[in-house]
């Protein structure tokens, strides 16, 4: 229901006086900051596969002065997934928005820095293999939640705070079945086939890289 015009005129006069906004205690960062999962190591590299991948991407694209931050919970990230990139203008970018920001920063590079278009195409094929078999195996290899954690999560009436990828880690056999009162949980994955595909992918990549110093001859 729209407010009548007469009331709108009256309302537009109010408030009669305005103060400046209440001051914020938080100050936006001055440099781009990558929000990542923490790691046990002191070298600043994340212990999470996805976060480490994007750290490597930013480094290989030649970007410097990128700070990292490990104190943000995944629940605060876009789509509840780290990494996120916090850039100037107080903007927060999801992982798929990072390449566009990098291109904006560096300008369009010919063949993305590769020495030839063929090298660029071949690298894309290898990257797709890495993001498929190798990525799956690395996620699967992370420590799965215990049976107690799984049961508590199932029985709790409140939303859980387990990262979305934890569902893929369920190597604990769920106690469910046709005769069980418990609803089915988790995802059953074939560990052997994942490990086999991982081993084949790594072997193939190793054979291709051979003694190359940089990835497929990129500069």
């Amino acid at each position: 229901m729209q407010v009548p015009l007469g009331f709108q005129r009256i309302f537009s006069s109010f408030p009669l006086h305005s103060w400046p906004s209440a001051p914020e205690s938080r100050k936006p960062p001055t440099e781009p900051t990558l929000w990542i999962h923490p790691s046990n190591h002191v070298d600043g590299l994340s212990g999470d596969v996805d976060c480490l991948k994007w750290q490597a991407y930013l480094a290989l694209r030649g970007l410097k002065n990128i700070r990292v931050r490990t104190d943000v919970h995944p629940q605060g990230a876009i789509d509840h997934r780290l990494p996120n990139l916090h850039v100037e203008g107080d903007r927060l970018l999801p992982p798929h928005g990072i390449p566009a920001w990098v291109d904006e920063k560096l300008g369009k590079q010919k063949w993305e820095g590769y020495i030839s278009e063929a090298a660029q195409d071949e690298s894309r094929a290898w990257v797709s293999l890495l993001q498929g078999h190798v990525h799956a195996a690395l996620i699967f290899a992370k420590h799965p939640p215990s049976l107690k954690e799984t049961l508590l999560e199932m029985l709790s009436p409140f939303p859980s705070f387990t990262p979305p990828t934890a569902n893929l880690q369920s190597t604990v056999v769920p106690m469910t079945g046709f005769l069980s009162l418990l609803p089915p949980i988790g995802i059953r994955v074939d560990a052997e086939s994942i490990n086999t595909e991982y081993a084949q992918a790594i072997q193939a990549l190793s054979d291709r890289l051979s003694t190359d110093k940089w990835f497929l001859g990129s500069e």
């Binding site: 009669l16 103060w19 209440a22 914020e24 605060g76 107080d90």
Partner: protein
């Protein structure tokens, strides 16, 4: 009539039919008046006989108040579910000492006090006291037994309800076990689903720890899911265990999850606050309320002071103090005025304050003509909460002319307040001065309806002074709740 026509006369209907709808149709008016007068006279006589008997009884008691009477024993009948040791614990402090002088007066006081404490234990539906001659064979003529015939309340109860209060509506189920171990302990389980507080679960166990039943120990576990998307683009889950005896020690597991319906909506501050935090704290609350009505008082005052110290363990570390004060006065019959003043300070100790612990103000039950939690520091569309606030309000409530008994009243208000963060580079006095000198102010009129115990307001108001970023509500605003500014 012929003898041969007997069957016909039995079944035949002869006109005119007798009209039996009102047997007093033809009764003389004077006889009706006489009957009525006689009934009134009998009622008056019974009433005066009753009053006369009461007066005689009270005269007998008054004349014999100091006659010696000694309580030999106290017997509670039909209290099968209540432990005898618990009843002794309750009653022994109320019995006159053996060496003290006992008479009719002390015995009557003892009867009154024991009846009162039995009712307050909430174990009994009815308590009927009586005096009997002592059954002990060695008793004196002045020895009496106090006998209390009781009817115990049911042990189990289940209740479903829909409640409205503090700007939200919820549906709840309560299961209640009374007198769990025979000592007036209670075990309650509460589950609710609401509009703002989406889910609430609470299980609590209470037991009295003093014989006067003024002090209780509570142990409870709770979980609450709150939707803050109206003002902060997130939801909050609190899970905790609480033990209280007036001052309480609380351990809380709290989780803050951002609601992400679109990557641009949620501000960075809320995202940075997301995650799981824990708090352990001690708090103390002092409350005194002398108002004649908790939500629509016309005389009296109430004052509440709350302290909390967190940092015994966990992520939260602060000292919080908060006060609420209300004063009500009747100016002329039918017109009352209410003054309110509230303020709070959250002083972080070793870590910055967390979103769940900060203050939020604004809304139809707080600073009117502003949206719920619409004041204070913001980051984009989200209210971040503050660490220092004050609120003041004056309301005039009047009966509708010529309709003083209606539950609808006329209401006019003037509210002011502000919410800020504490600037650590300045002193507390400087922070307070800065907060007081830049208030947000609103005024309006409206109607008020008492839907006991909830108060419902329908106001038309406007913000007179506001800070940039305050979310205002111009025009009509509806509020319902138990506490108003």
């Amino acid at each position: 009539m012929d003898p041969g026509d007997s069957s016909d006369s039995l079944w035949s209907i002869r006109p005119p039919l007798q009209n039996s709808s009102n047997p007093k149709d033809q009764e003389p008016v004077e006889l009706q008046k006489l009957r009525k007068w006689q009934q009134e006279r009998m009622a008056k006589k019974l009433h005066s006989d009753y009053e006369h008997a009461i007066m005689r009884l009270s005269d007998v008691l008054t004349d014999n108040m100091h006659s010696p009477l000694h309580i030999a024993s106290v017997r509670i009948l039909n209290a099968k579910q209540t432990r005898a040791s618990f009843l002794e614990w309750l009653i022994n402090p109320l019995r006159p000492a053996i060496t003290a002088h006992q008479d009719v007066e002390t015995t009557l006081h003892a009867i009154q006090n024991i009846s009162e404490i039995l009712r307050r234990s909430d174990n009994f539906e009815a308590v009927v006291p009586s005096l009997e001659r002592s059954r002990d064979e060695l008793s004196h003529p002045q020895d009496v037994d106090l006998v209390f015939k009781t009817i115990e309340k049911g042990k189990y109860a289940l209740k479903t309800s829909t409640t409205a209060g503090q700007g939200e509506v919820d549906a709840s189920v309560n299961a209640f076990v009374r007198n769990v171990f025979g000592g007036a302990e209670t075990l309650s389980l509460h589950m609710a689903y609401g509009s703002t507080t989406k889910k609430t679960f609470q299980g609590s166990f209470s037991a009295p720890i003093t014989p006067d039943l003024n002090t209780w120990a509570d142990l409870s576990a709770y979980g609450v899911l709150k939707d803050h998307s109206l003002f902060a683009s997130c939801s909050e889950v609190r899970r905790g265990v609480k033990a209280s005896i007036r001052a309480y020690i609380q351990s809380r597991m709290g989780c803050l999850e951002s609601n992400d319906n679109g990557s641009d909506r949620v501000c960075t501050s809320i995202r940075e606050s997301a995650g799981q935090t824990t708090k352990s704290s001690i708090s103390y609350t002092f409350l005194k309320d002398t108002r004649d009505h908790p939500t629509l008082g016309t005389r009296g005052y109430s004052t509440k002071l709350y302290h909390e110290l967190a940092g015994l363990g966990g992520d939260a570390s602060f000292y919080k103090v908060e006060t609420e004060n209300h004063l009500s006065r009747t100016l002329i019959p039918g017109l009352s005025v209410s003054l309110s003043a509230c303020s709070g300070l959250l002083w972080s100790l070793s870590r910055p304050s967390l979103f769940p612990d900060r203050f939020q103000i604004g809304g139809p039950t707080s600073l009117r003509s502003f949206k719920i939690n619409g004041l204070g520091p913001k980051d984009g569309p989200d209210s971040l909460g503050g660490e220092l606030y004050w609120l003041a309000g004056v309301s005039a409530i009047s009966d509708i002319p010529k309709k003083p008994d209606w539950p609808i009243k006329i209401h006019a208000y003037l509210n002011a307040g502000r919410l800020d963060v504490v600037d650590r580079s300045s002193s507390v006095a400087e922070n307070v001065r800065r907060t007081i000198t830049k208030p947000s102010i609103s005024a309006g009129v409206g109607l008020l309806y008492m839907f006991d115990p909830v108060r419902v307001e329908l106001n038309f108001g406007l913000p007179l002074v506001a800070s940039q970023g305050d979310r205002m509500r111009k025009g009509i605003q509806v509020g319902f709740g138990l506490e108003f500014l």
